[in-house]
C-alpha cells in the first residue's frame, strides 16, 4: 500500500470520528446539568475532565488495536492482511447504510439509535456528576458505547499505519487523538460563549442531514479503499 492510500484512509477515519454524535451530545447534556448545579468554573473544569476521559479512551483503543494487529499480522505471516480488508469492506458498507437510515431516531430531535437502556443510563449519569473523576469516567464510558462505529475505523487506521512504515506512527496516533476531540472543545466553546443547551440542540437538529450524508459518504469511500486493498493483497 502506498503512502497516498494510507493518508486517504487516515483522513477518512478522522472525518468519521468528527461526525460521531454520542460524545458531543452527552457533553452538551452533561455541561448543561453541571452549569445548573455548580459554578461556571467548576462546570467548565468537569467538562475538561470529560474531554480528557474521552481522549484517553480513544488513545488507549488506538494503542490496543495497534498492538493486537501488529502481533496478529506477525503471527499469521501476513495472512490477516488478506482477510481483514474484506471484513472491513463489509462492515463499512453496513455502517454506511446504517448511518444513513438508522443513525438518528425518527423525530425532530437528535436522539440516536442506541438502545434506550444505554442512553437512559448515560443521561442519568450525566445529570448526577459531582466530581471530576465522575466526569472523567463518563467521558471514558461514552467513548466505549461508540465502539460499534469506531472500532472498525481504528482497525482500518492501524492497517494504514502498519502498511506504510515511512509514516511517523506515534505522531499520527497522537494527532488523531487530538483532532478527534475537536467537536468536544467546540461544544465547550459554545457554552463558554453563553450559548445554552436549547440553542446548541437546535443547531444540532439542523445539522442532522449533513451528519447522516457525511457519514454515508465517508463510510462508502472507506469501504472502497478497503476493497482496493483486498484486491491488492488478494
Amino acid at each position: 500500500m502506498g503512502i497516498f492510500i494510507s493518508v486517504i484512509i487516515l483522513i477518512l477515519i478522522t472525518l468519521i470520528q468528527l461526525f460521531m454524535q454520542l460524545t458531543p451530545g452527552t457533553l452538551a447534556l452533561f455541561y448543561h446539568y453541571a452549569l445548573g448545579k455548580n459554578t461556571f468554573v467548576k462546570a467548565d473544569n468537569f467538562c475538561l475532565y470529560f474531554i480528557l476521559g474521552a481522549e484517553i479512551f480513544i488513545g488507549g483503543m488506538w494503542l490496543i488495536v495497534y498492538l493486537l494487529l501488529s502481533n496478529l499480522i506477525g503471527e499469521t505471516s501476513g495472512i490477516a492482511f488478506k482477510i481483514v480488508p474484506w471484513v472491513l469492506f463489509g462492515v463499512f458498507i453496513a455502517e454506511a447504510i446504517t448511518s444513513l437510515l438508522f443513525y438518528y431516531r425518527k423525530g425532530k430531535l437528535t436522539e440516536l439509535y442506541v438502545p434506550r437502556s444505554i442512553t437512559n443510563g448515560i443521561t442519568v449519569k450525566a445529570k448526577s456528576i459531582k466530581t471530576r473523576s465522575d466526569a472523567f469516567v463518563l467521558g471514558f464510558i461514552v467513548g466505549a458505547f461508540e465502539l460499534v462505529f469506531t472500532l472498525p475505523i481504528y482497525i482500518a487506521g492501524v492497517i494504514a499505519l502498519l502498511e506504510s512504515p515511512a509514516l511517523p506512527r506515534a505522531a499520527i496516533m497522537i494527532l488523531y487523538v487530538v483532532i478527534s476531540v475537536i467537536p468536544l472543545f467546540y461544544m465547550r466553546t459554545l457554552f463558554r460563549l453563553d450559548h445554552n443547551l436549547a440553542e446548541i440542540e437546535k443547531k444540532r437538529v439542523k445539522r442532522k442531514a449533513f451528519i447522516k450524508i457525511g457519514l454515508f459518504i465517508t463510510f462508502t469511500l472507506l469501504a472502497g479503499t478497503m476493497a482496493w486493498l483486498g484486491v491488492q493483497y488478494g
Binding site: 454524535q21 454520542l22 451530545g25 452527552t26 452538551a28 447534556l29 448543561h32 446539568y33 452549569l35 445548573g36 448545579k37 423525530g107 430531535l109 437528535t110 436522539e111 440516536l112 442506541v114 442512553t119 437512559n120 448515560i122 443521561t123 453563553d194 445554552n196 443547551l197 436549547a198 440553542e199 440542540e201 437546535k202
Partner: protein, 79 residues
C-alpha cells in the same frame, strides 16, 4: 400533585433555569407561576401521568421563556 413531586419538579426547573442563565428572581417567578397553574389544572384529574405533568409544565413555561420550555421538554431526548 403531591408535595414530593412538587419539590422534585421545582428542583429540576431551578437547575434548568440556572443552566440557561435566567436571572434568579425571574426564574423563581416563572417556576412559581408554572407550578401554581399546573397544580390547579391537575386538581380536576383523578389519574395523572408523568407525561400529563410534563405537557402542562411545558405549556406554561412557553409563556415565559421558550428556551426554558424547550430544554425541559427535550431533557431526556438529547442523546
Amino acid at each position: 400533585m403531591d408535595s414530593n413531586t412538587e419539590k422534585e419538579l421545582r428542583k429540576e426547573l431551578k437547575i434548568h433555569a440556572r443552566a440557561l442563565r435566567i436571572p434568579v428572581g425571574a426564574a423563581e417567578s416563572f417556576i412559581d407561576a408554572t407550578i401554581k397553574v399546573v397544580k390547579n389544572n391537575l386538581k380536576k384529574k383523578t389519574v395523572i401521568t408523568r407525561a400529563d405533568l410534563d405537557r402542562l409544565v411545558v405549556k406554561e413555561l412557553k409563556k415565559y421563556n421558550a428556551d426554558f420550555a424547550y430544554v425541559y421538554q427535550n431533557r431526556d431526548k438529547i442523546i
